[in-house]
């Protein structure tokens, strides 16, 4: 099986989400060719993750319609029967277009390997899984960030330049505003997340949350009322109507654990809940719990982690 992996890059290097997509295809048993667009240093680090070749489009494309044309043309040229991309902001815009262009069935945000023509993904906001079967000869799959890990140890991949017919751009990027000035990992890709809710009682108390997050090299998040009241920026809101995350560790302090909140966080590998109320619903969804006052527990926890090493 031949796979074409769309590889988003940053500063000439493959992004973690892109490497996860390549590793995924490799684990599915495919011979993986990656397509990289714009600046690229050597093979962008993708050979190590399992790609045998990189097709490099030197022109920097911003319009996902053009990127989709490049990916589709590359998939045809390589005779790929599988196309993978990460299920992040770029993949969500590129992959559905590729599926239409290739007449392919698409399975978004998978959590399991492709076995025959069937692949597993989460549905109902993580409350169930679906085994999706795809009839078409070519299949398009996007991989859930932080679900598969990155393989290493492969040889450097050969880089070939590739000049697809991409047509006119229908979209251009005119600006960018960073949401986290502290340079922490964006929430959808974060490996550790420290989150707090209305139990913190006011924005002025977030210092203890940030301190724990810094100590853990974690990203901060919050419940919806907290962002609605303007205590925290909107991009920190996780849950049904905010961002869905899948970190290795999710620590929630002063959050009751309403089902709409859990919908965005219940795919975390390990959940810790800290709440004064022993009946808080979060304890039913958590792996570890502390009944206690966040104002006392968070600083102590930060201390305990600092004392580790």
């Amino acid at each position: 099986m031949k796979c074409l992996a769309y590889l988003p890059t940053h500063d000439g290097q493959a992004t973690k989400a892109g490497l996860e997509a390549v590793s995924y295809a490799k684990k599915c048993g495919a011979d993986v060719v990656a397509l990289a667009i714009g600046a690229l240093n050597a093979d962008g680090g993708v050979g190590s993750a399992g790609a045998s070749k990189v097709l490099h489009v030197a022109q920097d494309l911003q319009d996902e319609a053009q990127i989709a044309r490049a990916v589709s043309e590359a998939a045809r040229a390589e005779g790929a029967s599988l196309v993978v991309a990460p299920h992040n902001h770029v993949g969500r815009a590129v992959a559905p277009r590729v599926a239409v262009r290739l007449g392919a069935g698409m399975v978004p945000g998978v959590t399991g390997l492709l076995e025959g023509s069937t692949v597993k993904r989460n549905v109902f906001s993580g409350k169930a899984m679906a085994h999706v079967s795809v009839d078409s000869e070519v299949k398009v799959i996007t991989t859930t960030p932080n679900a598969f890990g990155v393989e290493g140890g492969g040889a450097e991949a050969a880089v070939e330049s590739f000049a697809p017919e991409v047509g006119e751009a229908s979209l251009k990027v005119t600006g960018f505003k960073a949401s986290s000035s502290d340079g922490s990992v964006p929430l959808p890709e974060a490996v550790r997340v420290v989150s707090a809710g209305r139990g913190l009682k006011g924005p002025e108390h977030w210092g203890i949350v940030e301190e724990l997050a810094t100590t853990l090299e974690a990203t901060t998040a919050c419940s919806r009322p907290v962002s609605d009241m303007g205590w925290r920026p909107h991009h920190e809101h996780v849950g049904q109507t905010g961002i869905t995350i899948r970190p290795d560790l999710y620590i929630a302090a002063g959050i009751s654990g309403a089902i709409q909140h859990l919908a965005g966080v219940n795919q975390s590998k390990v959940i810790v809940a800290i709440n004064t109320d022993p009946e808080a619903p979060f304890f039913k969804a958590a792996d570890y719990g502390i009944v206690g006052d966040a104002f006392e527990v968070l600083p102590k926890l930060t201390e305990a982690i600092k004392n580790l090493s």
């Binding site: 319609a65 277009r97 005119t174 949401s179 390990v270 570890y288």
Partner: protein, 246 residues
């Protein structure tokens, strides 16, 4: 400006999730259906705001059977002018997108809005497929949206921040949090919705390539291990040695 808003129905967020017929169908027994929150709170409301500011019309479109009518009436009560329902049982994003595209093509609409994703299927796929089928530009995961002089100006979620983009019309835009604020329909809206047109059209040929073979519930969660509030070092030890996440 003529705006089309894609509206889907979704099980209320507190619904019990269960399956029937050998785990191949969602068990809708006793389940309350709502308008998919992204479609209602963000896509529909922003469409209405644009119409209020610039004139034009807001039509909703739904691929679904008659059991969708209550959520469509809710969208009309919030303020849409009229509704189209394509009579089919949706099973695949490609099928939904191709049916919507067959109605929306030939320049009938300047702008098509959909939600970031459905909260049952969580695909985030229909909008991008629709854009490709309509040969339209696509702004995905938009957190704000303006249309000025025939140009879409939007911000959208990107790695570590928000990107500003400009796109040409016709455009498809998928709506994420931030685009608008939820509107609660008032009595007048609810009364008016009863007589607004809800046009049911038969489904023509549709593309289709994927289907759910089987659903599965996740394994039951083990008990939560409780740790005393004055022993945070014990929690740290467990996270390191047992859970292996530190």
């Amino acid at each position: 400006m003529k705006i089309l808003v894609c509206i889907s129905k979704a099980p209320d967020t507190t619904s019990r999730i269960a399956f029937t017929e050998g785990d191949t169908q969602f068990d809708s027994n006793g389940v309350q259906f709502i308008v998919n929150p992204y479609d209602e709170w963000y896509a529909l409301v922003r469409a209405l705001e644009l119409k209020e500011a610039q004139g034009g019309s807001v039509t909703t479109i739904t691929v679904g059977e008659a059991d969708c009518d209550p959520v469509i009436r809710k969208a009309l009560a919030i303020g849409a002018d009229d509704a189209v329902r394509i009579d089919a049982n949706p099973t695949d994003a490609l099928q939904v997108a191709s049916l919507i595209a067959s109605h929306a093509s030939e320049g009938r609409y300047d702008l098509v809005l959909c939600g970031k994703e459905t909260i049952d299927h969580n695909g985030s796929v229909v909008g991008g497929m629709l854009a490709e089928l309509m040969n339209a530009s696509f702004v995905s995961l938009a957190t704000s949206l303006e249309v000025e002089g025939g140009v879409v100006k939007a911000t959208r979620e990107a790695a570590g921040g928000l990107e500003s983009v400009e796109a040409s019309l016709p455009a498809v835009v998928s709506a994420a949090k931030g685009m608008a604020e939820q509107r609660i329909p008032n009595m007048r809206g609810i009364m008016a919705a009863r007589t607004k047109p809800l046009n049911v059209v038969p489904a023509g040929d549709a593309l289709q390539a994927a289907s759910v073979a089987k659903f599965e519930l996740p394994p039951a969660k083990g008990d939560c291990k409780m740790i005393s509030a004055d022993q945070p070092e014990e929690l740290v030890r467990l996270l390191r040695e047992e859970a292996k996440v530190l």
